[in-house]
Symmetry: none
Subunit: 243 residues, 2 copies
DNA sequence: AGACCCGGTAAAGGTTGGGTAAACCGTTTT
DNA sequence: AAAACGGTTTACCCAACCTTTACCGGGTCT
């Protein structure tokens, strides 16, 4: 399934039918969509923390531009806004962009295009969100990991990891010696919440362990905390500490 | 911790509204922002010692390029300049870089993105690591590249590269042994963000590899990091190094 | 002990990112 | 105007990768 990690969108549009339609399409894609059918309501709802706002330019009570302006003034500076407008009106576009819209979609648009843009914007905003998270170098208990080179080593031997495995390892190492519950790990590594019967993360951990062990047979750093999650452990793996 | 140590920015842009908006959210981020609403004023104010200058390409009295040129002539060669350009204008980008802009941001940009880039530039300039451009001669792992002659060689053999291919190679080589994510590469080489279903950069990489290999069959320096981007690798490509 | 739950993992299945040829298109050159 | 050139888009394909399924074993609860 094309899970969108439960991204939460807000649609501000007076057209009720269109709203229903979009809702359906976007929910098929795994987004959650709230709707506001007039500017005032939209502004109110925009206080909440959405991942993206879809804003129609033409509405009866107030124009999309006014709405946008107010939303931006209300400290919702960071939420991406995608403006929907009736005609390929260049003026609209320029105006919208200068007021801080992040993208602009002229009607008529295909659902496919809408979805593509929504995804693109969300991806972009999430990338921007982690500015400092870029350069990480971790070196714990014989395992090294470096985000800039996207490489990992166990006792000096290069680990050929997939991106997901890399993220799993990174997440666990950042929280070294602390338990990371399965849901958080899933979220961090796969970008979505864990679902019923979802064994995906277990598989990745399994594969990760396998790869580490193929290269450093004595290193057993990833410990299972039954019923909770996993933990990257520092201590020599002294099988079980009795105490 | 979001304190930006009172970095002082100058925005040169004729659009008053946009200026206000930018001012607001950059100040939220802890920057101080002065504004100039035309080229002449901008040049005058740029005499002062700002940490960074934001410069709009399109202004009524004179183009951003002229402004940039004059600022650079006036000994303000060290202040980083971030150019704000209209969407995906290739000419703008090339011209800007040749005149010594340090980065450029195509509209539409998210506020997040702007802030991220401003921070990145300031950080970079404080480390006094100039990012791109200037007279660069690179020689890494059997491949040579020289911006002043705009020529590149692989194991001594001249590579006939297009401008874009050259830029791609340059970008990757500057960041040798580090992953360059697709979006950054796109931005650096093509001057615009990557869009949904945008395969352009892949094609350039593909062509570049082809040209290198035509001349030096053993050199496989450009590595793909699936789901992330590309990396120029130093090490002998020796597929997998064992033990 | 029996029933249940959770996690390990092999194998199968499904999805997708990226390589690349070729068509397309706007510019520049001849 | 034709040809050349370079960038972009389209389309197809495959291997890499992620997810699901299924089975198993050990731990835990009653």
């Amino acid at each position: 399934m094309t899970e969108q990690a439960n991204h939460h969108l807000l649609l501000i549009d007076d057209d009720f039918n269109l709203g229903q339609l979009l809702k359906e399409y976007l929910e098929i894609e795994g987004f959650k969509l709230d709707t506001a059918h007039n500017g005032a309501d939209g502004i109110a709802k925009a206080e909440k923390d959405y991942d993206l706002i879809l804003l129609d330019v033409m509405m009866p009570d107030m124009s999309g531009f006014e709405v946008l302006k107010i939303i931006r003034q209300k400290k919702q500076i960071l939420t991406p806004v995608l403006m929907l407008t009736a005609k390929g009106d260049e003026m609209d576009r320029v105006l919208g962009l200068e007021l801080g819209a992040d993208d602009y979609l002229p009607k008529p648009y295909s659902h496919r295009e809408l979805v593509a843009r929504v995804k693109a914007l969300i991806r972009r905003s999430q990338m921007d969100m982690s500015p400092e998270q870029k350069q990480i170098h971790l070196d714990v208990g014989g395992i090294e990991l470096d985000t800039s080179t996207h490489s990992a080593k166990a006792e000096g031997n290069i680990l050929e990891l997939t991106t997901t495995e890399f993220k799993v390892l990174q997440t666990l190492m950042i929280e070294a010696n602390k338990v990371v519950d399965k849901n958080s790990l899933n979220l961090a590594a796969l970008g979505r919440r864990i679902e019923a019967y979802d064994r995906s993360i277990d598989m990745h951990v399994s594969n990760l362990r396998k790869k580490i062990q193929a290269v450093a047979p004595d290193l057993q750093r990833i410990k299972t905390i039954r019923g909770v999650g996993y933990m990257f452990t520092d201590e020599e793996n002294a099988a079980e500490e009795q105490e």
